[in-house]
């Protein structure tokens, strides 16, 4: 799975599950928590989705904002993880 594909899937998931709107503004560098797109419980949905869709498993220590707070960070983090 390429970084581009991950980005596309995350975009789609967030629009469908959090924004409920295909046309909503959603930037790749937009802070998901900071802009309120995803709340502290919603982040669990996002993480489960990523684990299922990208066939990865996150360590507890990896669940920090540096890895998940923007779509670009998510894509970069998962890409690194998949190629490790």
């Amino acid at each position: 799975m390429t970084s581009e594909e991950i980005r596309a899937k995350v975009h789609q998931f967030i629009r469908k599950n959090f924004l409920f709107d295909d046309k909503a503004q959603l930037g790749d560098d937009q802070s998901l928590l900071g802009s309120g797109v995803v709340d502290s419980t919603g982040i669990l949905e996002l993480i489960s989705f990523l684990e299922e869709t990208c066939s990865v498993k996150f360590e507890d220590s990896e669940l920090v904002a540096d890895n998940f707070d923007t779509i670009n960070k998510i894509a970069a983090f998962i890409t690194t993880k998949l190629h490790r």
Partner: protein, 676 residues
């Protein structure tokens, strides 16, 4: 407890309000006072009253006048210190015909004018009509326990306990005010004077509004919550002395609420500390049978039966339980919204709507509850959360400081780190602004504001042109001199307590079945005492309601005091989307209905509904609904129901016969002929 309404003319251009109109107005709120009806009318004003008889059953009818019949009142509520006030008034020459608190208000106003309300310890919404001066006075108690709305247009002033009484007048247009919706989707409630309906204001709690014959209008706020400024002056009482003093004040407040009624008063028992203590004190106030009432839930997650029964056994009350299911909640929800008259973000009022029916059917007209304790004595998580965030903000790089959240939210410690880091990110927002006035509530308001993404283009446009009032723009001058806890308490009182808990979840659910709520923690002396306490008597470290637990220690079972605090919640979104949920839900959220109401964008509403339905169909043991989805589904559904019932309809239940036991009609005959 009662319902009031009226219509007053400013200037001479208008005919008096018709008796038919006044009767329609009072009929719309007859649930608030089914015992007796009264009407007063003169050439310029009409007042109506629906009475729930609690004090002076034989001579307390309304509207009621002063000695010479020039000053008239309609009044909803109780002035608990009316006996003391009467003792102050009699030496001034005032003569009383009844034993009611209503008459005391009339004389107090004659003696002390608009300042009289400061002297009242009670819960009230009232209108005084000075027929000589043609002056209208509207006032509401400190917290806004009793509701009061007003509208002015075209030389008329309408007022009423509930908006549906105004909507009985075809002259009153019915439209949702986007500003009221926007405040609800931020603070959980519209902020008086803004209401959910365009052109209709809510009278500010703790204020007096006056209209003169000239049309001049004035608002005077006589009370707002106030706290010690920092650094605090020496507080005169030790924690031991303060504990004793609080116990005494609570006992007095409870006794007033039990004894100042000519009918028996019962109590709610939630299973928590506040209502347990309230029920105990109520029990002690009067010999004889004491009735208590509890909600039980089929969903174990919300159920508190064990603690309720323990307390009922302790005070040997005549205890009644009502078991509530998700289906019950869904079934009564439209009726709940017809009574709240505003959108709500949780279903928690619905079980209370059902419980008040049980109370009424058991023959009880008034109940005590523990409402207000969490606000006055710092019981809520939001206060502890603010303290931790404040502590953390002084060392934002610290890894140890945010560990305190584990103590606050044990689920964080239990679920091994599952997204814990992310949860902390959430609380970290705004950490760089610890002195900001909204510091304590920013996380909640930010989360709630996510509901705004569902707005239609029209609502967005309207809000851009006329933004909703900002709470933080109208804070008391001393606000910035209060400590973190006091500021958070203030914000909690003026938003959630006044605008939601005491109204949507309190008065409206009780009065739907003609039951009056009485709240010892909202006694004016109790509130003043609590607000003056040093903050660490209330929140000691992270130990919430510290002083109240000390009061409770000798009095109620330890297991109730020491149990982890359980917020009162009911099953939310799942009630509306599980298999077999009532059909109205689908209809209210369908594209056509959403478009018709014009509040939300149908696409996202459809997306949310589909997501929730899919979740409900999955395994029931997983925590299926996020806070955001729960809030969104309940909020959107209730706003849609509000529109259907109050904008498409007029919000009143059909039928109902009104026969007046008090009828004073002073409209001269020739004028009547003129209007015919």
């Amino acid at each position: 407890m009662c319902g009031i309404a009226g219509k007053v003319n400013i200037g001479d251009r208008h005919e008096p309000p018709s008796r038919e109109l006044l009767t329609s107005m009072v009929r719309a709120i007859r649930h608030r006072g089914p015992d007796e009806y009264g009407l007063y009318r003169d050439a310029h004003a009409g007042l109506v009253h629906a009475r729930l008889s609690l004090i002076d059953l034989t001579s307390g009818q309304q509207p009621l006048a002063n000695e010479d019949g020039s000053l008239w009142i309609v009044f909803n509520g109780e002035i608990f210190n009316y006996i003391e006030l009467r003792r102050d008034l009699e030496p001034l020459g005032h003569r009383f015909r009844t034993q009611s608190d209503t008459e005391v208000i009339v004389h107090a106003y004659e003696a002390w004018g608009d300042d009289c309300f400061r002297r009242f310890n009670g819960q009230w919404a009232l209108a005084l009509w000075d027929s000589r001066a043609r002056r209208l006075v509207l006032s509401r108690d400190r917290i806004g326990v009793r509701p009061l709305y007003v509208r002015e247009a075209g030389g008329h002033v309408w007022f009423s306990s509930e908006v549906k009484a105004m909507f009985a007048d075809p002259e009153v247009p019915r439209a949702i005010d986007p500003a009221g919706l926007d405040q609800t989707f931020t603070y959980w409630a519209s902020l008086a004077p803004t209401s959910l309906f365009r052109g209709i204001e809510e009278i500010l709690p703790g204020s007096v509004r006056t209209y003169e014959a000239s049309g001049a209008k004035r608002d005077v706020v006589f009370w707002r919550p106030s706290y010690p400024v920092t650094p605090p002056a020496d507080y005169p009482l030790t924690i031991h002395e303060a504990t004793e003093a609080l116990a005494e004040k609570l006992e007095t407040a409870t006794r007033l609420r039990v004894l100042r009624a000519d009918v028996p008063v019962g109590s709610y028992l939630s299973g928590g500390l506040d209502s347990s203590l309230t029920a105990l004190m109520g029990r002690k106030a009067k010999a004889g049978v004491f009735r208590t009432y509890s909600i039980r839930f089929q969903d174990a997650e919300y159920d508190e039966t064990e603690y309720q029964r323990a307390m009922a056994a302790t005070i040997d009350s005549d205890h009644q339980e009502l078991v509530v299911s998700r289906r019950d909640i869904a079934n009564v929800f439209p009726e709940v919204i017809r009574h709240t008259e505003r959108p709500i973000l949780r279903t928690a009022p619905a079980p209370l709507y059902l419980l008040s029916r049980v109370v009424r059917d058991s023959g009880i007209k008034a109940v005590l509850t523990g409402e207000g304790a969490d606000e006055m004595l710092a019981g809520y998580d939001i206060f502890r959360e603010a303290e931790i965030r404040h502590f953390w903000s002084r060392e934002p790089g610290s890894a140890a400081r945010p560990m305190l959240f584990d103590r606050l939210y044990p689920y964080l410690a239990r679920s091994p780190q599952k997204a814990k880091g992310m949860a902390l990110e959430f609380w970290k927002q705004g950490l760089d602004r610890p002195a900001g006035p909204g510091f304590s509530h920013d996380p909640r308001w930010r989360t709630t504001s996510q509901l705004k993404r569902f707005y239609s283009a029209e609502v967005r446009g309207a809000l851009e042109a006329h933004p909703a009032g900002d709470l933080l723009a109208g804070l008391p001058p001393d606000f910035n001199r209060w400590d973190t806890l006091s500021r958070a308490q203030y914000l909690e009182v003026v938003t959630l307590l006044s605008g939601y808990l005491i109204s949507s979840q309190g008065d409206r659910m009780l009065m739907a079945h003609s039951v009056e709520g009485r709240f010892p923690f909202l006694d004016s002396e109790v509130m003043e005492f609590c607000n003056a306490l040093p903050p660490n008597y209330k929140l000691a470290g992270l130990n919430e309601k510290y002083i109240l637990k000390r009061v409770a220690r000798e009095r109620i079972p330890a297991k109730i005091i020491d149990r982890p605090k359980q917020p009162y919640r009911a099953p939310d979104a799942v009630s509306f989307v599980e298999e077999g949920a009532p059909e109205y839900v689908r209809e209210a959220l369908a594209e056509e209905a959403v478009r018709d109401a014009g509040l939300f964008d149908p696409g996202p509403v459809r997306g949310l509904y589909a997501k929730c339905v899919a979740r409900a169909a999955r395994a029931s043991d997983e925590p299926a609904f996020s806070n955001a989805d729960n809030m969104a589904l309940v909020g959107l559904l209730s706003a849609q129901l509000l529109h259907r019932q109050f904008i498409r309809g007029d919000g009143a239940a059909p039928g109902g016969h009104v026969e007046y036991t008090t009828l004073v009609d002073r409209v001269p005959f020739q004028q009547l002929q003129g209007t015919a």
